[in-house]
């Protein structure tokens, strides 16, 4: 089973030609934006590990009980637990998958992979990045010099080792990855979707260009005038964005650069609970934090004011110098 059902270029172009790329407002609610994510779709997830995770959008997809999502992300942490544990995804393409280095192995990941037959396709970190980049460039592959000789390569026949037609050197061609939809969380964007990202970008820009549609969640919607005053700060252009949702603390309990650090008390409690029982513990967590709250703000209230303020103080400290 290969994930890399490479779309022919003609299909990629047709999909793009159909999208409304005009300069238009596309602000909507989490509920509405979720309609871009259909069962069985390939979903690219922005951010990395515990940073700029589009948690609010994942939260909404869990609430709406999507199924069979095939997800890709550069580094997967508790978001992956939730994708598997909630049942919305049975396939993750990434380079690393645990809850975070501080807590060791993810019992949730292990349970779903070792006994439930869910798939974690492992690529090198650079390979994941080059797959999104090829997708964003509109080419079917990019060449890399890693993975060669390893069992990571042996396990991925979707990639092709070649002898370079110029130099004769061995190279690995990694296939483009064009998700049906990308979920990306940013610090700010305008109502059209022109996004600014502070700090670490991870693979989000390539992911945005590669995907066939993009849902942006944002800490803050700013005016288009503000964007136009510093066009060299725009990281994602409006025409590859299909939905804009304003969700303050939209990565909680993960971090958002310059605004808040990870909410570590919540994270540690989460890890203790789900690793002690990856089925019941996870279900109880989802029931309490994902299904019960009436709104994202209610979810934040459950995490608690203390955690939010502490994480915010630490997050802003990056600019204290």
């Amino acid at each position: 089973m290969l994930d890399a059902q490479l779309e022919p270029y003609s299909r990629l172009r047709e999909n793009l030609a159909k999208r409304d790329r005009s300069l238009r407002e596309k602000v909507m609610s989490l509920e509405e934006a979720a309609s871009f994510v259909q069962n069985g779709m390939k979903v690219g997830i922005g951010g990395s590990t515990m940073s700029r995770t589009p948690m609010a959008m994942i939260w909404e997809l869990v609430r709406q009980r999507r199924e069979h999502l095939s997800c890709s992300r550069c580094i997967t942490s508790t978001d992956g637990d939730i994708l598997f544990g909630s049942g919305i995804s049975d396939h993750i393409i990434t380079s690393w998958f645990a809850q975070g280095i501080l807590w060791g192995l993810s019992k949730v990941m292990r349970h779903h992979i070792e006994t439930q037959g869910k798939r974690y396709d492992e690529w090198s970190h650079m390979a994941v990045g080059m797959r999104f980049r090829a997708g964003g460039m509109g080419v079917p592959f990019l060449p890399i010099r890693s993975m060669l000789g390893s069992d990571v390569m042996a396990q991925r026949p979707e990639a092709k080792a070649i002898d370079c037609p110029f130099t004769g050197e061995k190279l690995l061609l990694v296939p483009a990855l064009n998700p049906d939809v990308a979920l990306i969380h940013v610090q700010r964007c305008d109502a059209y979707g022109n996004a600014q990202i502070d700090g670490l970008q991870f693979m989000d820009i390539d992911l945005a260009m590669a995907a066939n549609s993009v849902i942006l969640t944002t800490e803050r919607i700013v005016s288009n005038d503000q964007i136009r005053r510093a066009p060299d700060q725009t990281k994602i252009p409006f025409f590859c964005v299909d939905a804009v949702v304003e969700v303050p603390y939209g990565s909680a309990p993960h971090e958002c650069y310059g605004l808040y650090e990870p909410m570590m008390k919540h994270m540690s409690a989460y890890v203790a609970q789900v690793n002690s029982d990856p089925i019941e513990g996870m279900q109880a967590y989802l029931d309490k934090y994902f299904h019960a709250p009436k709104s994202w703000n209610e979810y934040l209230a459950l995490i608690g004011m203390e955690e939010l303020l502490d994480a915010s103080q630490k997050g802003r400290s990056i600019y204290n110098d």
Binding site: S48, T49, M50, S51, C74, I75, S77, T94, S95, W96, F97, A98, I101, L102, L105, S106, M109, R110, I113, E114, Y120, E122, W123, S124, H125, M126, A127, V128, G129, M130, R133, I144, R145, S146, M147, L148, G149, S150, D151, V152, Q155, E169, K170, L171, L172, G199, L200, Q201, F202, M203, I205, D206, E255, Y257, E261, P262, M264, G315, I318, D321
Partner: protein, 256 residues
């Protein structure tokens, strides 16, 4: 020689590993001991050490007591010279800008191959480990230092799965597989410091840590070790090294 100072296994790992780095190098450091050891080297003797992190950080200068929980967190960017996309920081390795990669390991074999993907048969694993992250890229593209705990089950003749290539099947097999650059340079454990034979590419003991015998190292290793002709004894951690290390990680996040 001064009286040895009491320390944990993690502490000696971090300190010995930090000694392998020299000023002016560009080092790509993983989370945990590598991050800590590189930061320690920067404070102790290599102020011009450039530390790269997988999240996209170039030239980091991590704050004491504020170690990041991963190399993808904003704390890694504090006082950095630059931040890049995740793929782009790895491309620096491919282009050749990086002198040394530095990471931890779950399982290593006699040729320095690392496994962080599976325990047991990969098709039906006993344990699914987290996977490569940038490990495969780093070890494919530059010279490696690995810091890890020395246990027999971790030092095996053949890893269950080659996540991050060392010298593969030894000899010239690494270059023949398309990896002409880099390779395993040093392995640091709480027992000894290892290099690799220039021809066979087998792991060999370069130095024993204070109070450790050849037998103790061999007994904790799952394959037959080569010992260097002129085997050395590691200088024990100095008080200055230990206090600096403890200042960097007062909560013992990575040195418990």
């Amino acid at each position: 020689m001064t009286e040895p100072v009491r320390h944990t296994a993690s502490e000696i790992l971090a300190i010995l590993a930090s000694r392998q780095l020299t000023d002016g190098q560009v080092v790509f450091a993983g989370i945990g001991t590598p991050l800590l050891a590189a930061t320690l080297a920067q404070r102790l003797r290599a102020p011009g050490l450039t530390i790269l992190f997988e999240g996209g950080v170039v030239g980091a200068f991590v704050e004491p007591g504020k170690l990041p929980p991963s190399t993808n967190d904003q704390r890694c960017t504090k006082r950095a010279n630059m931040v890049l996309g995740s793929a782009d920081v790895l491309l620096l390795l491919q282009r050749g800008y990086v002198d040394v990669g530095f990471m931890g390991g779950a399982q290593i074999d006699q040729f320095g191959n690392l496994n962080s993907s599976y325990i047991g048969d990969p098709a039906a694993p006993k344990t699914r480990l987290p996977g490569t992250g940038g490990g495969n890229d780093i070890s494919s593209l530059t010279n490696m230092i690995v810091a890890m705990k020395h246990e027999k089950r971790r030092f095996v003749e053949k890893v269950d799965f080659i996540t991050s290539p060392g010298f593969l099947r030894g000899g010239t097999s690494r270059a023949e597989s398309g990896l002409p650059s880099g390779g395993m340079f040093r392995v640091i454990t709480e027992l000894a410091v290892f290099g690799f034979d220039g021809e066979s590419r087998r792991m060999k003991v370069l130095a024993l840590n204070p109070g450790v015998s050849r037998e103790e190292v061999q007994d904790n290793t799952g394959f037959k070790l080569v010992f260097d002709e002129k085997i050395a004894v590691t200088e024990p951690p100095t008080e200055h090294e230990l206090t600096t290390l403890r200042m960097l990680d007062p909560e013992r996040l990575f040195t418990a």
